[in-house]
Symmetry: C2
Subunit: 405 residues, 2 copies
């Protein structure tokens, strides 16, 4: 083990919280607890900001019971940040590392965090400063490259599928058009998870719109009208990032319209805007098209509950997020390597299992991964069964519903 | 058992769905399965509408496995309705009862449903037609009189408390002002359940506003500013029905404002409007008051998820809703009585238990029950520990959170 460097370690959490990001944190803390080479494990409060401000907590020895409580707590126990470090910021991070003899850097986050890790790592290499850098993936958006899927996605998908499952029964009990707006500004992975709520053909969501399949207002109106005409109700799952056929996000267009219309008193910048807009569109155009006088139309925007709801995480996701943390430590201690922890799927269906491997930071940084075309139906308004096979093991067992008609 | 009348029974579900309304339905179906006096149990599709349209399902003998799946399925398996029958409508209901030799009527719903049950019962009495009428309470609003609490409330409260618990950690991770709008147009019971998320003094929600404690915009702005100034963040739980000091709901005022401002392109009638409005108020006035240039302000409107989320019901609520159904059958078979099933609490804390009793329909019909003053703090912006003792057993065990700071 000639490669083992002695020194201190830093860990930080970045970007939007998830239900299992603290599992990865606890995985790292547990992995490092018995590493003699690492004297102190410093937890940076609020990610990179905590590093440049030298705002650290000591995490090397923590009570096992506390760690397990932290592991099941959503969001980011160290605090998170939206800071995206530029070159100067990264230089400052590296200076703090030198000052505190930091030789291990673990950063839990998305593709931006992987990029920060990559840049800091390059600075260290340029200075011949021995540093092991590991990125630990997390994002409810599931849009990181290389890895089969991302910790955080399974739990968010579980929340979305369960919410849609109940909401579909609600819509069947009191029929009308219901629109649910789901997180995902650029990729439709989380919105696609709504498909898991379908246990038979008449179940909603009857229409699913993701950013990867642009939809015009006419197409949207026509398709909602068609479903409503057939079933007397329609449940629609819409990604917050859905795009018009000109490639522009509906939400952005909406924001422009509102800016033109407002007198300063009412702004539509809050999170309910897209859902309310779509509901009004249905009220005006679908009802008119079908000649329905009183159409019950409602919209919900699932919001932060998708990423932070307490007590309903996917057990598979929890275990994998923990594993990603412990694997990062294992890789960092094993040799002079850096990278991002990634999952490879080694079994399907009931035999679902993953193994971890090390990805290069540069391959995970910056770019993201869209929902592939084989997961979207040809009409561009639904999700395929191939997606179900991909996602079902990640969200864990869902409630089985019973119906009288 | 000379009082036992032979004939058929009808059951219906009414009003807003809950996570456990089907438990009560299954309780009735199971209770009646072995009643020889009841030949057919007819399930009315979409409540009273199914009765007047004679749209019935036969429920006397159903597969036990299907029943258990229905029991854990949210919303209303028979379908629900918003119809509020007037005298003519009730007369039509009674005519259908005579036609089908209906001698037992079970109606699961809120105070309006109790009133429907009461009127139909009076019509039967006037005609010397033997009819047993039982109302089975359900409402996430928890606002029925006589009973200690209502089936449906515990599960909705469990959802709200868990959502707020996670959202508070989210807000601590990425600090700012977060506003969560919770269901309850007239009573603050469900919004009060957000208080259960607080496991220590620094936990949110830091401010809780219910309709029973009117709040002016100035008071709201000042109190958010005070919390933010002290903690650097603020989580606010707001009932959708909060009222200004003149006794008018904010939501209603907002709707008027919007109507005046709009040019027909943007309507604010969707469900995100109040949350977005409050977020903008904070962005404008709280940020200005504190001299904060960039204040992170977000709002979520919890929406239908509160009443219909699948897979996260309160086990206590599930058991009690089932019990209410079986008790209704027991009361109806025992003698010439009518009424509404009610709960009496016979133990507190770890010894929590309830027993059922029969309430008079007229005492449950129409009027509702506000959150009592002893559950609201003196500042009118929070909930008391007396409420926690009341509500904690109903929502069941909540996740225990862990923190690093």
């Amino acid at each position: 083990m000639s490669n083992v460097i002695r020194g201190n370690a830093v860990i930080g959490q970045s970007g939007g919280p998830t239900a299992v990001i603290n599992q990865s944190l606890v995985g790292v803390i547990q992995g490092i607890a018995d590493c003699d080479a690492i004297e102190n494990l410093l937890g940076a409060r609020h990610g990179v900001r905590g590093i440049v401000e030298e705002d650290f907590l000591h995490l090397k020895k923590l009570d096992a019971g506390l760690l397990e409580r932290i592991a099941v707590t959503p969001a980011a126990a160290l605090g998170s940040t939206r800071d995206k470090p530029d070159a100067d910021y990264c230089t400052r991070i590296f200076e703090v590392f030198e000052k505190h003899n930091i030789r291990y850097f673990f950063y839990i986050g998305g593709n931006d965090s992987a990029d920060t890790a990559r840049i800091v790592n390059e600075l260290a290499a340029q200075s011949n400063y021995e540093l092991r850098v590991f990125h630990i993936p997390k994002t409810i958006d599931n849009d990181l490259r290389v890895t089969d899927h991302c910790p955080g996605y399974g739990s968010a998908g579980r929340f979305v599928a369960s919410a849609i499952m109940g909401d579909d029964r609600d819509n069947a009990a009191l029929p009308g058009v219901k629109i649910d707006v789901i997180m995902g500004r650029h990729a439709g992975w989380l919105t696609a998870a709504s498909h898991l709520a379908r246990q038979d053909d008449s179940d909603g969501p009857h229409l699913i719109y993701v950013p990867e399949a642009p939809v015009s207002q006419d197409k949207f109106v026509n398709e909602v009208a068609e479903v409503y005409g057939k079933l007397g109700r329609c449940l629609v799952a819409v990604s917050e990032g859905i795009e018009d056929e000109d490639g522009k996000a509906w939400g952005e267009k909406l924001a422009e319209d509102v800016e033109r219309d407002s007198h300063g008193n009412v702004q539509l910048s809050g999170s309910g805007a897209l859902g309310d807009y779509l509901a009004n569109l249905v009220k005006l155009k679908v009802a008119q098209k079908l000649g329905v006088k009183k159409m019950r139309v409602r919209a919900d925007t699932f919001g932060y509950l998708q990423r932070s709801f307490a007590g309903y995480a996917s057990p598979v996701d929890q275990a994998e997020a923990r594993l990603a943390g412990t694997k990062a430590v294992e890789y960092a201690m094993a040799g002079n390597v850096d990278g991002s922890v990634a999952f490879k799927r080694i079994g399907e269906g009931k035999d679902y299992a993953v193994e971890c491997f090390r990805a290069e930071l540069k391959d995970v940084a910056r770019e993201t991964k869209d929902l592939p075309i084989e997961f979207i139906n040809t009409a561009g308004n639904g999700i395929t069964e191939a997606f179900r096979r991909y996602a079902a093991p990640l969200v864990g067992e869902l409630p089985v519903q019973g119906k009288l008609f």
